[in-house]
Symmetry: T
């Protein structure tokens, strides 16, 4: 039945590699405890700088997952 209800949460992933990889890490970590994740939206892209170089990319995603009926 299609009248599903979703909960949306906000997760910040980090990565030394790339902005996309920070998103991948955020979703992989969330998948450990949350089922039925359906979509994500990037809501913030930041990072830490150390000695004039990017130390970490930090990307915040809103994730929607379906609640069990």
């Amino acid at each position: 039945m299609s009248e599903h209800v979703y909960k949306n949460i906000e997760i910040t992933g980090s990565s030394t590699l790339s902005s996309d990889d920070a998103v991948v890490n955020a979703i992989a970590r969330a998948a450990k405890t949350i089922h039925h994740m359906d979509w994500f939206e990037i809501v913030g892209m930041r990072g830490q700088i150390d000695q004039g170089r990017i130390a970490h990319w930090q990307v915040t995603v809103k994730i929607g997952f379906r609640l069990e009926d």
Copy 2:
């Protein structure tokens, strides 16, 4: 005593009937597990289209509920 603390969560309800009904569905589902809900705010109104007609209204609400002391 009145110095309460509230948590705010974000839920997306859907409905084949109307935008208001999608809000009603979101709050009814949340009420199954959350007590002391106090207010809601609509933060997004979207929907799915199928064959040129609205298949589902999808309305996202932020809901505030009082935390137990």
Copy 3:
């Protein structure tokens, strides 16, 4: 002559029935004291929850009305 000037005010209506009805109530109340209302824009949709159900829809509208020359 068409170089009219408008004042814009913000009113919040409430209703136990629907979000649209809260708008209708806001405009009906404003019409008691304001003439020449021309347009409205919905700028916020909230509500109160009581016992896990919507007690009131509360919709805030910006209303523009023409000032007499």
Copy 4:
């Protein structure tokens, strides 16, 4: 194949009945010339007032539709 591309357009529908009906009218009119419409998002809710009553609801929706490959 799933790497589809979508175009998003903005349509304003109007209705004397309700805000939801203005959305229905916008999508029905768009469906006359556009195929493969997939989703909509409400991006503005306004209306005209006449003699202290709502004359028209005017709701603006962004509509996404799939482009043929």
Copy 5:
């Protein structure tokens, strides 16, 4: 290892004393059940008025905390 993942939640604290104290109360309450809180951001400052005086300051904070690996 530095590729941490954070969850961000939203809490509203209230206080009869000051806006800063409402933030302090929000974080103190959150600390009862959440570990590894790292930062906060104020996302809304409101309050209740009673008899022409401020009855409560109500400040909403987004709080980020580190998820266990």
Copy 6:
């Protein structure tokens, strides 16, 4: 009866002491002529600088008050 209608106005208070005190001053002044004020929301925090020091805090609040039926 609970289907009240509210008007929202915007007031800027100033203070040489603190940002909170500027809010207190705004509401105290509004209370001289407005009854049934119910809530406020801070919508802007600015100030004047003189000789490298803060001369005034200037805080703008939106205030909602109930209209008589």
Copy 7:
């Protein structure tokens, strides 16, 4: 004494000549009934089109004026 309180209102002026002239008209009309106006901020610039040409510029300004103590 410098702890003044200001009220901020929103006025839409129109002009067939230019966007600046619409602002001038809005302030001139407000000056008929409001004293101690101190500043304005442009918050919206729109207009009506007739027969493929601009019929009116419509500019909305927020105006701050000092309240008498």
Copy 8:
């Protein structure tokens, strides 16, 4: 009959003369191929600088036009 449907498009006009003239140019160009244009809203004002002087004003307008039934 008044339940019209409008399409909204975004056009950027440029001018060496003034910001208003860039709007005029955008609408004049649109009028070559679009009928029933009804309103515009300025959504961005930019420009190019050359040798320390403004070379072009570039103003982006959203234009609404009525779709034929």
Copy 9:
């Protein structure tokens, strides 16, 4: 002559590979039917999740292209 006029459209591209690749796909598809594209701006970054992994990156770009005189 430099007083060009541009039209801005919104396209959503998707990719299983990366967020940048979704932009590349959006622009490649647009290039099939649109000439004189000049710039793009990313206005939304979302994606679909399947089985706890990113199934598609979906990036929405606003694209500006020069209209023929």
Copy 10:
């Protein structure tokens, strides 16, 4: 070589004449000390009112200029 880097600064110009002239003044003053200015974007339009008339237009522009390699 085209991989230039730009710095963006924010300047507020004022004028007793017009909003456009305030922009011209801002850029003319910036040109005294900054080279390679490339573009501007208007990010705020305000003004001072004196005796019910506009005393100054104050327009804030973000200006981008190319950094030397």
Copy 11:
């Protein structure tokens, strides 16, 4: 002469004491090297949490100062 030009910069101050004190610290530090500071606007209020308590308030202010002619 009143056609001044201002530059606006963004400074983040921190304090262990209060949000207002973080603003005071930001302006005091800026005053060491900048003259003719005229106004500030708070554009972000954040902080660090350590062991469940606020370690630092971090408030970001935009500061406007007059450029010498």
Copy 12:
């Protein structure tokens, strides 16, 4: 001592390779003249299109760096 003060600046980097590389280029260029850079936030992602392909990614970052005491 921890009551540091930071200045935030805005830099636009460009790259023919990727959006992340444009950020890397912006920070590398800033590092030539600025010390103690601590964090960045992406505030705009744009690009130039040439012959239907992306010629440059242009990413604007806000960078915070600690001021010497």
